[in-house]
Symmetry: C2
């Protein structure tokens, strides 16, 4: 029941000696979801023991080099490794031409299906769901079309309280109805109420990824209540003007968005190379939102399972 | 008077946890020449203290991803760093479309001139020379158009022996003539012979880069007598068939080429990921050519200055 984000690349456009461009792995119960794929991503994954072959979906925020230059090498390696499973790529429509060009020029043998899911909507939209999670893409505010992603576990199935099963001699049909949230009226007129006889075994967890973006009013509402929020913090207070000019955020602004959204925890990344030690950025964010942590290569941020009382 | 090769990336197509794709820096008396530019090259350069800004020329062997995917990030970083010096790129003509596509899609601000030198010849040809070195590109034998590069110091100017200057009371004109290799006949009939009165202060050094290539007869002749030879050694004896099929070389074949060429020293690289420890490849090469060393990230191979007796 793992739900964790591993930050791999946390530099902004220019990498440093110890920070690679944007790349993150979200592990939701064994689903390995790659979020942005900056140069060197495949090497970072190998270094930190993350399986390239088991990574099924890549979510790209936008078509700036520091978020996509790693995908070419990664896809080549998958091809040479004999992958046959499909690879799903979610990205702004602007990535289509680049993907087509790369496939034509570089993939000698394309042995696995590459399925491109272009993002074009100006509104949040569900782009993928399976029996356990839903993924929503939503537009951010940057110099080129850019999307954030919201990953939510689905509501788990209701459990019927064990003591009720024996005390009320529940039949299989009654249990199934209660699990589906339906009250049951027995022939003797008594009503078995789902609300009192069942419980949710745990609360669904959520994570939102916001990079790169300027501040905008709608964002806190879109990511409201997420357990874990990743938000770019390219600049500090000293470069607030530059942040605005470049459609980026300051560390403080990242904290303000987390606060307004009521996020459980905030992770900041995408640091400009001018900050050799990004702890100065962390301090500025924490002035606004104390539950902030800093991303670095290989750091894993777990969202623990929130079990409910039976 | 430095002349050294630093191997940065020594993996073949699929990188490993400790080997990046092809990238090498040749430092000839302060000229920083980048040879191939696999993914992660700019990060390796930063990690090993090699200045991106001072790197003026990039020599690409061929358009396979593991030799070129790093150039996009490197060029982007140069652009954001405010470079104004030209960047010269030598590559097979097949790279032109990729370079143009990249510039159109990714370089937001192109503040430095990018000068592309396409290689098309089927014969060795000088592609660059300055007052100290000449660079010759020559075709290799691979699945796509591929070139090796031969870097040679020019012959240094002759020095006139100090004892001759005073003993023969040489005039400035006589010294200049002797330095240019011309004998001088004095009015009294005596001849000042350049051969006995001058010496070369040092022997010009040379380096050749051969990756990727199958064995072919002409190669040893092209790189004859180089002080330092880099040759790919993708496979070991166990995969000789695969090497031939893929137009690659085995470690042993790399040694055989070095032997036939009369190279001073051989460095092998471009190791397949199947060899966790490439020392097995080194052993096979050394059976043929003992003066072989193995390339690894950040390893510098110096060619010492060979001073002549005065």
């Amino acid at each position: 029941m793992k739900f964790s984000l591993t930050t791999l690349g946390v530099s902004s456009a220019s990498p440093t000696t110890d920070r690679y461009p944007s790349a993150h792995i979200l592990n939701i119960c064994g689903r390995l979801l790659l979020i942005d794929c900056g140069e060197g991503c495949q090497m970072l994954m190998k270094r930190h023991g993350i399986s390239l072959m088991k990574t099924g979906r890549i979510f790209l925020s936008h078509v700036h080099g520091d978020h996509v230059f790693g995908i070419f090498g990664l896809m080549s390696t998958l091809s040479m490794s004999g992958r046959t499973e499909p690879l799903h790529i979610y990205a702004p429509e602007t990535f289509r031409g680049i993907l087509d060009f790369f496939r034509g020029q570089f993939l000698e043998r394309e042995c696995y299906p590459i399925i491109f899911h272009p993002l074009t909507s100006g509104e949040p939209e569900t782009v993928w769901e399976d029996n356990g999670i839903t993924v929503t893409a939503f537009p951010l505010l940057h110099r080129v079309p850019t999307y954030g992603y919201l990953f939510r576990e689905r509501e788990p199935e209701l459990n019927v309280r064990k003591e009720a099963v024996s005390a009320l001699s529940l039949s299989v049909e009654e249990i199934l109805a209660l699990k589906e949230g339906r009250d049951v009226r027995r022939e003797d007129g008594t009503v078995l109420e789902t609300q009192s006889l069942t419980y949710r075994p745990y609360e669904p967890r959520s994570f939102a990824y916001c990079s790169d973006t300027a501040v905008f009013d709608a964002l806190p509402g879109i990511v409201r209540g997420v357990d874990l929020l990743y938000h770019e913090a390219t600049f500090g207070d000293d470069c607030a003007d530059k942040a605005a000019e470049m459609f980026h955020s300051t560390a403080r602004q990242a904290g303000e968005t987390a606060l307004k959204a009521g996020a459980g925890k905030l992770v900041i990344g995408h640091f400009s190379s001018r900050y050799k030690d990004p702890s100065v950025l962390l301090a500025q964010t924490r002035e606004v939102f104390p539950q902030t942590e800093i991303g670095w290569e290989g750091k894993e941020f777990e969202v623990p399972l929130k079990k409910n009382e039976k």
